[in-house]
C-alpha cells in the first residue's frame, strides 16, 4: 500500500485537524503518496463530486475524517460509484454505535483508532452497566466515565466535606488533588500525563465487522 | 321568511349592531337603507353566519339559525351576495358557478342550473372560460348573483348590488332582482341607491348607527324624506 487519499469535514475543527495536521503530515513523512483530499460540510447529503474525486485518486488507503452522518453518506456514495480502497480508515469519534446504526454494511472493515472498546473486565462491566440503562458506552461516554471516576478518586483521597462552609476549601482541595495526579487508572489501563498536563491514553484499533466493532489490534498486549 | 329579533353584534368592544329587529316576508322584496357605517353589512354577515351575534335570535322560515355556521345556513336555503361581489378572481366564470353549487350533490341538475344562469345572464356565457378577476364590475356583480343562485336559495340577501356600477348596469341589476322575485325568490336587499330601491321594494327599513329607525311601505314617506332621514342624519339633530 503506497498511496493515501483523505475525506474531510471542512467545517469542523476536530475533523480538519485530524486529517491536515496529523494524518496527512505523518503519511507523507512515512513515505506514502498523499493524493489529496475531498472536502464536504457537516450536514451535507450529496457526495457525488467527492466520491468521484476519490475514484479518480484511486488511492490504496482512504481516510475519512468526519462525523458518522457524513461518513455514512460518503461511504454510501462510494459504494454506489464502486470506489473500493484497499484500506478504509475512520475518525476516532466515529468508532461509535452511530456509524453502525447509520451504515453497517458500507462501513464494513473500516479501521478506526480509538481510546475505548470493552476489552478489559473493567471496561466490559462499565459497558454492561450503561447498556442496562439503554445507553451505549463509546469513546465519548467512556471518557466522561473516566473523568467522573478521577473526580471520585480525588474527592475520596482529599477528604472533601461538601458542607456549605467548606465550599471554598473543597474547591481548593480538588484543584490541588487534580494537580497532584501523575497518572490515573482508566477503563483500558493507565493514563499517563505529560508535564504540561496532556493525557496520554492507551488506545487500540477497532474495525467494523458484521455490524459490530471488533478489536483488530491492541498495542496494550 | 327571515325573522331577526333584537340582535347585537360587536367587534371587540365596539357594538356595530345595537339590537336590530326586522323581518323579510316570504315572496317579497325587503329593502334596508342607511348611510355608511350604519351596520348594514354587519347585519348581512350576522344573518349569513359569517359573524356571530352576541345576543338576539335569527329565524329562517321559523327555524332558529342564530350562531350556525355559514355552511349550515346555506344548506337551509339562504344565500348572500356580498358587498363588493367577492368573486373568486383566479377561477373561471364556470368554476365560480360550480363553486356556488358546492353543497349540492346532484351534478346533473347543477349542469342544468348553470345553463339557466347563462340564459339569464348571457354576458356570463360569453365569458364562461375567462378568469373572474378580469371581468368588469357589472359582470362580476352578475356572476356574484348567479353564483349565489346556484345554491337554489329560498331567500337571497344582496349587499349593495349597485355599488360602483354605471347607471345602465344598475337598471339591469334591478330588473333581474324583480325577475328573480317574480320567480318566487324572497329578496332582502341592502342599498344606498334609494331611488332604485324604493322602486322595487315592497317594504323598507331605515337603519342608523346600529339601530332600525323606521319601517314601512314605499310611498309612506316621500323619497326626499327617506334620503333626508337616511343620509343627512336626522337622529343626530334630535340628540
Amino acid at each position: 500500500m503506497k498511496s493515501i487519499f483523505g475525506g474531510v469535514e471542512e467545517d469542523f475543527a476536530h475533523s480538519r485537524a485530524t486529517w491536515y495536521a496529523v494524518m496527512k503530515e505523518v503519511a507523507a513523512k512515512e513515505g506514502f503518496e498523499v493524493k489529496g483530499e475531498a472536502k464536504w460540510l457537516l450536514n451535507d447529503t450529496n457526495f457525488t463530486n467527492q466520491a468521484r474525486e476519490a475514484r479518480r485518486a484511486a488511492a490504496d488507503i482512504m481516510v475519512i475524517s468526519a462525523h458518522p452522518f457524513t461518513t455514512c453518506g460518503m461511504l454510501k456514495e462510494m459504494a454506489r460509484q464502486g470506489v473500493a480502497p484497499k484500506l478504509l480508515v475512520g475518525l476516532t469519534s466515529s468508532s461509535s454505535l452511530e456509524t453502525l446504526q447509520g451504515c453497517a454494511k458500507e462501513a464494513e472493515a473500516i479501521i478506526i483508532p480509538t481510546s475505548f472498546a470493552p476489552v478489559t473486565p473493567e471496561a466490559q462491566a462499565a459497558a454492561d452497566n450503561a447498556a442496562k440503562f439503554n445507553g451505549s458506552l463509546d469513546l465519548h461516554s467512556a471518557a466522561a466515565y473516566e473523568n467522573v471516576m478521577i473526580l471520585k478518586q480525588v474527592i475520596e483521597s482529599e477528604g472533601i466535606m461538601a458542607k456549605p462552609d467548606t465550599l471554598q476549601d473543597d474547591r481548593n482541595k480538588i484543584r490541588a488533588g487534580l494537580a497532584k495526579l501523575q497518572q490515573t487508572t482508566g477503563l483500558l489501563g493507565v493514563t499517563k500525563r505529560t508535564p504540561d498536563r496532556e493525557a496520554i491514553k492507551p488506545f487500540l484499533f477497532v474495525h467494523a465487522k458484521a455490524g459490530k466493532w471488533e478489536v483488530l489490534h491492541n498495542p496494550l498486549n | 321568511m327571515l325573522d331577526v329579533q333584537d340582535i347585537v353584534t360587536s367587534y371587540g368592544k365596539i357594538e356595530a349592531l345595537k339590537g336590530v329587529t326586522l323581518n323579510a316576508a316570504e315572496g317579497r322584496i325587503t329593502c334596508l337603507l342607511g348611510p355608511n357605517g350604519a351596520g348594514k353589512t354587519t347585519l348581512m354577515y350576522s344573518v349569513a353566519g359569517v359573524l356571530k351575534p352576541r345576543r338576539g335570535t335569527i329565524k329562517l322560515a321559523g327555524d332558529d339559525i342564530t350562531g350556525q355556521s355559514p355552511a349550515a345556513i346555506v344548506a337551509r336555503g339562504l344565500a348572500l351576495v356580498p358587498e363588493n361581489r367577492l368573486v373568486f378572481p383566479q377561477m373561471s366564470v364556470a368554476e365560480n358557478l360550480d363553486a356556488g353549487a358546492y353543497q349540492r350533490r346532484d351534478s346533473a341538475e347543477v349542469a342544468v342550473d348553470i345553463e339557466r344562469m347563462y340564459t339569464r345572464f348571457p354576458r356570463l356565457k360569453e365569458r364562461r372560460a375567462q378568469l373572474a378577476g378580469t371581468l368588469s364590475g357589472g359582470e362580476q356583480q352578475m356572476l356574484a348573483v348567479a353564483r349565489a343562485l346556484m345554491s337554489r336559495p329560498r331567500i337571497l340577501l344582496m349587499d349593495e348590488p349597485s355599488l360602483g356600477l354605471a347607471p345602465l348596469i344598475v337598471e339591469e341589476i334591478f330588473r333581474i332582482v324583480g325577475e328573480l322575485n317574480k320567480d318566487g325568490v324572497t329578496i332582502f336587499l341592502v342599498e344606498q341607491n334609494v331611488h332604485m330601491a324604493l322602486k322595487v321594494a315592497h317594504h323598507f327599513y331605515l337603519m342608523e348607527q346600529g339601530r332600525v329607525t323606521f319601517s314601512g311601505e314605499p310611498g309612506k314617506l316621500a323619497e326626499d324624506e327617506v334620503i333626508q332621514r337616511a343620509y343627512l342624519g336626522t337622529s343626530r339633530e334630535k340628540r
Binding site: E10, D11, F12, A13, R16 | -
Partner: protein, 299 residues
Amino acid sequence: MDFYLGLLQIMGVHTLLGLSAYVVLQTGQVSLAQAGFMAIGAYVAAMLTVLAGWPLIAALVVASLVAGITACLVGFPALRVHGLMLVVATIAFTEIVRLFFFNFDYQISRGNLQVGPLGGEGFRQIRYFPENGWTTLHVAVFIWTVVALVMAALWWMDRSRAGAVLRAVGEDEIAAQSCGINLTAVKVSAMTAGGAIAGIAGGLYAHYTTHIEQSNFTILLATFAIAYPILGGLSSVFGTVAAVIFIQGFLVEGLRFLGDWRNLLFGALIVLVMNIRPSGLLDARTMASLRRLFGRKEG
C-alpha cells in the same frame, strides 16, 4: 453567583438581538438577517480590540456603525420584497455572512500567539475583559447599561412621531403611503437601526464568550431574534425583555431540572403561548392594564 451573572450577560445580549428585530418588525417586515448583522458586529468589534488594540467602547461604536451601514445597503434591495420572500432573502443574507466568515482568515502574530479569525476554526483569544481586569459583575453591569440605553432610545422612539410612522407602515403600507410616508425610507431606516443594534449585540457577545465562530450565527439564532419580540408582543420594548426572560431564564435555565424533557417542552411551550396569546405575552391590552396598575395615564 457567577452563574447568574453569566446568565444575565446572555440575557442582555439576547435582549439586544431581540430589540434589533423588534424595530424591523414594527414596520411589518420579518427579517432573519439579524444573525448576520450580529456576526458582522462580533467580528468587527473583536478584530478592533484584539488586532488593533482599540478600547472596547470605540470598537463597539464602529462595529455598530459597520453593521448598521451593511443593513442599510442590504435593506434597499431586500425590502423591495415582502412576506415570505423577504424571510428567504434575509435567510440568504445571514447565510452569506456566516459563510463569509467561514472562509475568512486574517491572523497576525502577537507575542508567540497567532490571533485573529481563522476560517472554520473561528476567532479565539478575544481576551479584552480578562486582560483589562473586568470581573463578571463588571461585564454584566456594562451589558445591561447598554441594554438600558438602547431600550430607552427605542421606548422614546415608540412614543414619538417616528414610532407612529413605523407602526403606520407596519399596519397598512398603502394607507401609510397615501399619507405621504416614504415607505422605502422608513423601512430602510428601521433596518439600519436594527442592524446597528444587532452589531452592538454581536460586539458584546464576542467579548464575553472570548471565542466566536461562524456556527454561532446561524438561521436558528436569527429565528430566536424574531421569536423574542413576537413572543413578547410588539406593543412595547418590554415585551421583548419579557420573552427573553421567558425563554432564556425560564425555558432554558429554569427548566433545567427536567433534563432531557426540557428541550421537548421548549417547543411545546412556544406553540402553547402562541395559541393562548397570539399577540404576544405583553400584548397591547396587557400593557394598558399594566400602565393603569402603575397609575400612569394612557400615553
